[in-house]
Amino acid sequence: MLTFPDVSLTALLPIIISLVTACIATLGGLYTSRQNVAYIGLGGLVLTLISLIALWNNNNTTSFKGALLADNYAVAFSSVIVIGALLSLVASLDSARKAQLNFPEFDALLHFGITGCLIIAFAGDLVVLLIGVEVMSLASYVLATFQTSRRAEEAGMKYFLLGSIGSAILIYGIALTFGATGHFDFVGIATAIAQKDFANNTLLVMGSLLMLAGFSFKVGMAPFHQWTPDVYAGSPTLVTLFMSIVVKTAAFAGFVRVFQVALGSSDAWQVPLQILIGLTVIVGNMAAIRQNELKRMLAYSAIAHSGYLALAMLSSPQSGSNALVFYLLSYTLMNAGAFAVIGAIQKDDRGATLEDLRGLFYRRPMYAVAMGLFLASLAGLPPLGGFIGKYTLFSAAFSNGYVFISVLCIVSSMYALVYYLRPAMMMFMRAEGGEMPLQLEPRPSSGVTIALSAVGVLLLGIVPGVVLGLLEGAGKLLQAML
């Protein structure tokens, strides 16, 4: 008698919808234009979001015997991923043509990448996590190289080579952890470590350090950050937009799951993580100050932000994950908006330099005000979303006892402010001798992305209680479960 496998379709629903959308996008390109495929993709993402909302507070359904776990944190991370994907897709409606990406394969790969990200968020064990990471990474490698330009090909190649090394290190770490604990699933690993007679400590330590290195590759923490500036600057701006928000959120979702749920009781990785965070925020911020070109500057700022985000792992599980989701949401909005503005004003996908921004307020006031908001939020100025995000992260780590690293991150935010402030102020300064001409055709869809992101950033700064309240409820459920 065959036993029906534990396939709970409810928990799988968001992933299935996303996968179906990706398949339709692959085939739809043969029958219709890219524009229609993009609209179908948008519809699919909206459906995914609805299914995610339906999964909220749903008693932590699992599927495949715990390999996929649909608890509130998975839903929260996935929602941030889908929101980021929606913003990128909306921006692509008008910027894809300019970036020579106006073919349906772009959407197909985008959706496959999103599916991979969702798998990471819902992962309940290391193998599923790995599947998600690989699907997401492969999609991003190809997306980075999609444009037929030397720069994009170079960026994609670099990303592929370095990312594969990162994945290989991650896989090795997973193998060692399995060898040490005998389990792939997070809960199983946690119970195995917590047992009194746990003998394989060396193996576990090596495994966790290798996994730490692998994940640091994926999110771009120093000293594994070398790919980030080249890839962000070389890829088409639209792809950079997608990578900087969706891929990072998914990678952090996996990162925090592994290290807080599975390896939570092991104390092998706290000190190395602090060292990595310290290096990351110092290197990221110091390098960004020297950048003249906006995409590279935002890449280094993304590196520094990875450092801040990783502080969540040093906090207690509940407050850390809450802070992480909130910061990722505000980070998604800020970055989506900032890259969308760059995409709207750039001449070509080399991006915009600081000089191009000079006097933007006097030519396109709305772009300048929005960009100012995004830069101020990235810098952490109140009353914007970035400030509340930074505050929750820093105080979560501080109150869990990690005083030095939180103060170091606060100090590094200080000189981060310089490189956010410079472009922001340049936009409002008139150029002596006339401003440089920009390609400024009307961009309605990018405008929608920018407007939504700006409103989101303001709301998250002034009334964050809505989101924080939702997350706190999620946290209580998590605690009950553990």
């Binding site: 100025l381 109140p382 009353p383 509340i388 820093f394 109150s399 402010l417 402030l421 102020m425 706190e472």
Partner: protein, 506 residues
Amino acid sequence: MIHLFLFLPLIAALIVPLIPDRQIKRWTAALAAALTLGIGLGLSVNGGAALERHTWISQLGMTYSVSLEGVSLLLCLVVAFMSLLAVLYAGWKVERSSAMLVLVLLMETTLLGIFMARDLVLFYVFFEAALIPSLLLLSMYGGPNRLTALTRFAIYTIVGSLFLLAAIIGVKVYGGAPTFALEDILKNPIPKNVQTILFLGFLAAFAVKLPLFPLHGWLAQFHEENHSSGVADVMGTLYKVGGYGLFAWALPLFPDAARDLHIPLMWISAFTAIYAAWIAFSQTSWKRLLAFAGLSHMGMVGLGVLSLNATAATGAMYLLAFQGVYMGALFLGVGMLASRAEINAARPEGYGLGVFQGGVMGSAPILGGLTMTLWLAAIGVPGLAGFVGEFSILFGSYQVAPWISFTAGLATIAAAAYALTAYQKTFWEVSPEDAHSSSEHPDEAHDLGHTSLVSRIVSDLTPLEWTILAPSVGVLVFFGIYSAPALNLIQPAAKALMGFFAGGPQ
């Protein structure tokens, strides 16, 4: 009502950009500023507005607590009054001023918020948020070296503020208060061993904002590069909230640390006062002169607050409030002078109106007279508002540390030196060019008379300028003679502050 007082300028700042017609724009802005002042005066008749507390972000313990009483009421009224004058001047005198109006109104809300906040994080939010309009005013309407000025200003302010943020997190974690509201924090005192480091965090931010030596490096260029009308400088002067921050937040929260550190800090403040006066004396650019004069006054304010003495603290808050009026009015007065002279950006002493104008008094006597009154207030001449503040500070700090008080008293003498010298050079003396030409052509000079040389005829006050200078002078004279209303607002707060130092100042 209190919320309307706080947010009316913000609402107006959001409406003004949408109005296409310039006339309606400036009347709307002026009306909003006037209404804000009116509401403030109305609230002050009832002794201010009591504490209103609402939950803002319950998960993080941040409340929206505001109140308008005592020192806050006085400072908010000064902010509202000077913002009205700034809006009037910007709207009618400055070209392409629509963005300036919006920024002045935005800054007014944030400044009012700084003084009205009774929740530590809300205070921090307004404290930081006021930076943005300030920077935008500098970058949109500044001089040729504004990028350097604003980078310095931003870095100094942000570094201080981030130390303040770290200390705020520390207050919550080490004190154990449930929220950030002032009343809750005071009920959960912070253990003595961490007080010093947290106090230093607060001090970092407030010492930049006061400013105190050696964190004053941003001040001179900030004022110099700001727009020649002086509007941005008025708001910048009002933004010097470090003294208030110490008075209302740092001292009540960290009384033991303050008691340990207050003597060295008093020395630093007294030194700032003298040092700034010394430098002011050698300045050749009006804006820099006023910047250093302001710095000298702030040294006095710092001395007063850090003396941990009720009289000195009262004087400090009084001085803080009224220096907002006379320094702001002086900046606008210099702006009026600048609009009459040609600003030569290539002058050797830097951008901005030079001191060696000469002979303005002859053709613009009323401008000269009113400016003189403002300077006398700055020097601390009895009968004008500055005196009460300075005297109380010196009197109170003498009871704590006589030698420090004496040193700071020298600054008062130095103030007379720099103020009167600059005034004489600009308003009375013959300007260097005119002196030169008169010595080459003695007959023409004799015919024309040295006060009415053709190149130096300037017009006297326009009605707009009357509306700006006369009320300022009026306020200063009134509160110089009858200072009881202001003192009655401050004294209860000062006495309450001393209650935290029950062990007595030493």
